[in-house]
């Protein structure tokens, strides 16, 4: 669905160099700390910034050559942009209905009512969470094949986030060829939702893995310095010096659990994996 091939973009000291792919029928997550380059990747795919190198294909075409029909098949939520906040929901529905031939106004108004968004109030009077919901509902209501969602759950409380992720799951179930590229700083959202995850740090992809694999075989080993010296290092990805010795990231948690019963083996959450990938040093 999307192929990002060695794209480059320079902003002063920041240098983006990234390769990734969003397969047909998959939910692909992009995670990383603030300023890692997530939004730059999204903006590059959406042709909002110009590349210094590399190429991007969407639906098998260069992303700069998509026609109106192709663009109708893409729904985009930008983390920091939406319609001007002087509009009401009714205005926004009218505009979307005139821009997208497949805009499902009934479904949109249904979501607005279900999540109790005020229809006649200007968007500038909405809370951050309400604005985030509105952006997402607009994206979900024109039968797009590809959703590109940059921080779609930002500002939502835990209940709203859960409801929204359920909506996204339902959206994927409606058509097996739909794909989603999503970023979120709340890694818990992505753990239970994405099929695969890319991790970006300082403009570079530092990890790409199936989510099942990431949660099943990746883990954190905690050990003393002596234990660290003795164990097999071949499946250690990163290490970090701790007061007690070392914590290490591995992609073969079962191997160490079976062969080194003396060390502490913990299944890693995505947050812990990010921390060790970013803060740890290569082994």
């Amino acid at each position: 669905m999307i192929k990002v091939n060695q794209i480059e973009k320079n902003y002063g000291k920041f240098h983006l160099n990234c390769t990734m792919e969003v397969p047909d029928g998959c939910v692909t997550g992009l995670i990383g700390e603030n300023g890692a380059g997530k939004s730059t990747v999204f903006k590059a795919i959406e042709n909002l910034i110009f590349l210094d190198g590399g190429s991007i294909e969407v639906f098998g075409k260069p992303h700069t050559e998509l026609n109106a029909k192709d663009r109708e098949q893409i729904a985009i939520v930008l983390s920091d942009a939406t319609f001007s906040n002087v509009y009401t929901i009714k205005d926004v529905a009218r505009i979307m209905g005139s821009v997208y031939p497949d805009f499902d106004k009934k479904k949109f108004m249904g979501l607005v009512e279900r999540f109790r968004l005020p229809k006649n109030q200007k968007v500038k009077e909405f809370s951050t969470g309400m604005k985030a919901k509105l952006k997402l509902f607009l994206a979900l209501c024109h039968k797009a094949r590809l959703l590109i969602l940059d921080e779609p759950t930002a500002g939502m409380d835990v209940v709203a986030r859960d409801e929204v992720l359920t909506l996204l799951r339902e959206y994927m179930e409606e058509d097996e060829h739909r794909s989603i590229l999503i970023s979120s700083h709340i890694s818990g959202d992505l753990e239970g939702f994405c099929d695969e995850i890319y991790m970006i740090h300082e403009g570079k992809i530092i990890l790409h893995e199936d989510t099942d694999q990431l949660l099943g075989t990746y883990g954190v080993l905690k050990m003393t310095e002596e234990q660290y010296r003795k164990i097999d290092h071949s499946h250690l990805l990163r290490r970090r010096k701790e007061i007690y010795g070392y914590s290490c990231l591995t992609d073969e948690i079962h191997y160490y659990a079976e062969n080194y019963p003396g060390i502490t083996v913990e299944k890693g959450s995505i947050d812990e994996i990010i921390m060790l990938m970013v803060k740890g040093e290569a082994v």
Partner: protein, 223 residues
Amino acid sequence: MKGIRGLLIKDLCLMGEIRKLLLIILFVTAIFIFNGTSSTFLTGYIMIIIAFLVGMTISYDEMNNGLAFLMTLPVTRRQYVAEKFICGLLSLFLGFVYTMVVAVIQSMIGNSAPDLKESIMTAVLFAVIGVIVLSFSIAIDLKFGAEKGRVMLLLGFMVIFFLFYMGVAFLERNFPEKKEAFLQWFNTIFEGSKIYPVCAVICAVVLLLSFFASCRILEKKEF
């Protein structure tokens, strides 16, 4: 065309926001009609205010980083620019009709026969100025942003008028006969039957230049 229609509807939805400005125009019109101010001044006032309306819609588009969002819709950057010109020209046309109606009302209140020929000529001249203001404002607002653009536009027009004035003063001081010839030429091209084709050519040239410049500005813009 669907994209342009959608953008026009978007700008139409802003009418609620600019209704204060429209009410001011109505209010000023009423005052000018009843105190007998010349229709030329009123026509100029209305057409210039209307020419700035598109700049206001760009300013609303920029809120919330909205221009970036609009560029993700199935609308090309060229279509966005085209819509702004269509919106501006439609507004100027409505302003033209409005000033005509006001001129007729004004002459009726003044118990004089409406001089439609002169009213149309005045409105056409101000419509041309409106088209020039519109063309410059779209390009400048897209280049510098609506807020900064407005200041740049005013400065730009001040510079143009200053240069025009200085040019005429220079001719007067050094080549008085050429100044007379120039002013005569200037008067003849805006006189009689020539006025409409001259205005049409000026509008077409300014609109085309501004359209292509605006497209280039937006196509090179990053969000």
